[in-house]
């Protein structure tokens, strides 16, 4: 897939972007929508990585530390209305690694409330099913939300408003967003750490598909698949202010994600205010080169930095926690995306009825390339 170099893209001056930022009052817009060039000139971001082996560990304490290390204290959260956007794709009680874990969502809600948030709402427009209540019940999230009295909004059936498509990687002139976004001051993307059979990985940026109302775009968000998934990811991210990412990598998914892959206990929580930088860091943790993921390559220099040199690491060092997620050679989006200097034996092959085996002969794709 060709990666556009940005030429021919409408560029926004720094002055006009800052004016827009001021008007919106959204401190977390992150990088602006103007192209900083292939070397990401001037763009930097901070990303926190924390160890968390279990969902019943003190996740709230870890999130508090993450926010503190990212320079976000109560003053940035007090009085704000927070919207948590988890990744709830399909209802499936037996495969809990598909969806963001309810206990992490609870921990995030409690953390923001402890920091003085005026309210916390959980909202999602599930990608594969119209029945969001079924997803809530099957994922166990309904029980948590009821116990904690946290409201849930089904974004698939929300009313909506129109915004210009600032990305223009697709042919869409505008995007229709759920009205609930207008009632939130801080939007938090809370994906799972997963591989994906169409995009290589699915993380905090791909998770934004779930903001888009299914009643307008269909199930599974057909218009965006039609327009190109990578292109749509960039367009949505460029047009929707999202202020924070909290990635559930405690148990992720490898192989044929985002639904049929195997659970991968990775024991990490990744937090950051710039979603492109968060996803690039997550990719590295998974042993995947973010430059080989088309939407991240396009995001580089536009939505944020993806180069390692431009991302200030907080918490744990990603190198010490890197663990190559299984990739499948038969899946083009997962071919040739492996980060250099990763154990080549970890590249998986499939050929025994859906079970994944480790094979030294199925490396597939290029392993060369420097680590960004």
């Amino acid at each position: 897939m060709p990666v556009p170099d940005g030429s021919g893209k409408p560029e926004r001056s720094r002055r006009s972007f800052l004016a827009l930022l001021g008007a919106g009052g959204a401190a977390g817009l992150g990088a602006g929508w103007w192209y900083h060039g292939p070397h990401e000139g001037g763009l930097t971001a901070e990303v926190f990585i924390g160890r968390a082996e279990r969902y019943d560990s003190p996740l709230g304490d870890l999130l508090m530390r993450a926010l503190r290390e990212l320079g976000w204290g109560p003053e940035g959260i007090r009085g704000r209305r927070v919207l948590l956007k988890p990744n709830l794709v399909e209802p499936n009680r037996a495969h809990s690694h598909i969806n963001t874990h309810p206990l992490l969502i609870r921990a995030a809600a409690e953390t923001f409330l402890r920091l003085g948030a005026a309210s916390v709402t959980v909202a999602e427009g599930a990608g594969h099913v119209r029945d969001s209540l079924l997803v809530l019940e099957e994922s166990g999230l309904a029980e948590v939300l009821v116990e904690d009295r946290i409201p849930f909004v089904d974004l698939n059936t929300d009313s909506f408003f129109r915004v210009p498509n600032r990305g223009r990687f697709t042919r869409l002139d505008s995007l229709l967003l759920p009205a609930t976004l207008r009632q939130a001051d801080l939007v938090v993307s809370m994906p799972k750490l997963k591989t994906h059979h169409w995009t290589g990985v699915t993380l905090s940026l791909k998770n934004l598909f779930g903001l888009m109302p299914g009643s307008v775009y269909g199930w599974p968000k057909n218009v965006f698949h039609q327009e190109g998934i990578h292109q749509s990811i960039v367009d949505i991210a460029a047009s929707v202010p999202v202020h924070l990412a909290i990635v559930d990598g405690i148990v992720g998914m490898e192989g044929d994600g985002p639904i049929l892959g195997a659970p991968r206990p990775a024991g990490v929580l990744v937090v950051g205010r710039n979603l492109a930088a968060v996803d690039a860091t997550c990719a590295r943790l998974m042993g995947i080169d973010p430059r080989k993921i088309a939407y991240l390559a396009w995001a580089s220099g536009r939505l944020g930095p993806i180069r390692e040199a431009h991302i200030a690491q907080r918490g744990e060092d990603w190198r010490s926690l890197r663990q190559p997620f299984a990739l499948i050679d038969d899946i083009p989006a997962q071919r040739g995306i492996r980060l250099a200097a990763v154990d080549p034996w970890a590249h998986a092959a499939r050929g025994n009825g859906g079970q994944y085996t480790q094979s030294p002969f199925s490396r597939g794709g290029q392993l060369a390339g420097d680590i960004l």
Partner: protein
């Protein structure tokens, strides 16, 4: 239980006859259509439903489609529910005919499947999409199929093609999801609401042996489903094939009771649940399994 459902649905009706998507929300085409379908099966309500049908008629465009909103012309999926609403009152035959003509003139985006395509279903079979310009999927095709049959267009070749599409999209072990069967060699998983909708649409036009695995899947899955939309469609699907579970009424009661905990349900979900409670009257009246 049925009385409670009716009262709850009635409370969502606005003075202009349309129904709110949920308490406090604005009117919605799909909520209005499904509410009319459900309440039309309760005789004391039927005379009031013309206002809802008129509201839907005012949203029908010249070419027959009923879009989600007037400015979203390509979002055509509410056309079939609107037809079912009009059909349920037997007073809007011209509206129904125009909508049927629209559906018969339009289709999803289709292409010939290549041998190495990672997606297993036959992408050349034409059905209906959620949004014009995109591929055809299970629910919009099932609803269009049902609406066209109820509109007296059951002999049209597109109806036979829609049946073929649904059977092609049936999962290898039974059931339907949104419309993908296998991707990269792995079978995907079924969902109760889509399976129910497909079974309703196929009842009377498909031999039972072709959908037996799906009926069996749904009989098992529905036992633990209490979310109203999924429960409603699951019960409708099973009832259409004379496989209505004995505990259906109790499960509907449980679903209703759960709204005390979960909050008010969407109007469309409530309407489907009421339709299921009244079945085989109402939506399934002329659909035989």
């Amino acid at each position: 239980m049925i009385r409670k459902l009716i009262e709850e649905l009635r409370s969502r009706r606005r003075v202009d006859g349309a129904f709110a998507a949920r308490p406090g929300a604005g009117a919605a085409v799909d909520a209005t259509a499904w509410a009319v379908v459900a309440l039309a099966a309760t005789p004391e309500e039927s005379w009031r439903l013309t206002t809802g049908c008129d509201w839907l008629a005012a949203r029908q465009l010249e070419d027959g489609r009923v879009p989600l909103q007037p400015e979203l012309r390509d979002v055509i999926w509410p056309t079939a529910p609107a037809m079912l609403a009009w059909i349920s009152t037997s007073l809007y035959s011209e509206r129904v005919a125009r909508a049927a003509e629209f559906l018969l003139r339009h289709t999803g985006r289709h292409w010939k499947r290549e041998p190495d395509d990672p997606v297993a279903h036959d992408s050349s079979i034409r059905g209906w999409p959620w949004v014009l310009g995109t591929h055809s999927w299970v629910v919009p095709t099932a609803l269009a199929l049902l609406a066209l049959r109820r509109a007296g267009r059951g002999e049209h070749p597109r109806v036979a093609e829609a049946v073929a599409l649904l059977l092609d999209r049936q999962l290898p072990a039974g059931g339907w999801n949104y419309g993908n069967t296998m991707v990269f060699g792995q079978p995907l998983r079924p969902m109760p609401d889509t399976t129910g909708a497909a079974l309703v649409a196929l009842a009377g036009v498909t031999p039972r042996e072709k959908v037996n695995a799906s009926i069996r899947y749904l009989e098992e899955a529905v036992k633990r489903v209490r979310a109203p939309l999924s429960l409603g469609w699951a019960l409708l699907g099973l009832t259409a094939w004379n496989a209505r579970p004995a505990a259906a009424a109790a499960w509907i009661e449980e679903a209703l009771a759960a709204s005390d905990r979960l909050g008010p349900y969407e109007t469309g979900s409530l309407a489907v649940l009421l339709t299921a409670a009244l079945a085989p009257q109402g939506l399934l009246a002329k659909v035989g399994g």
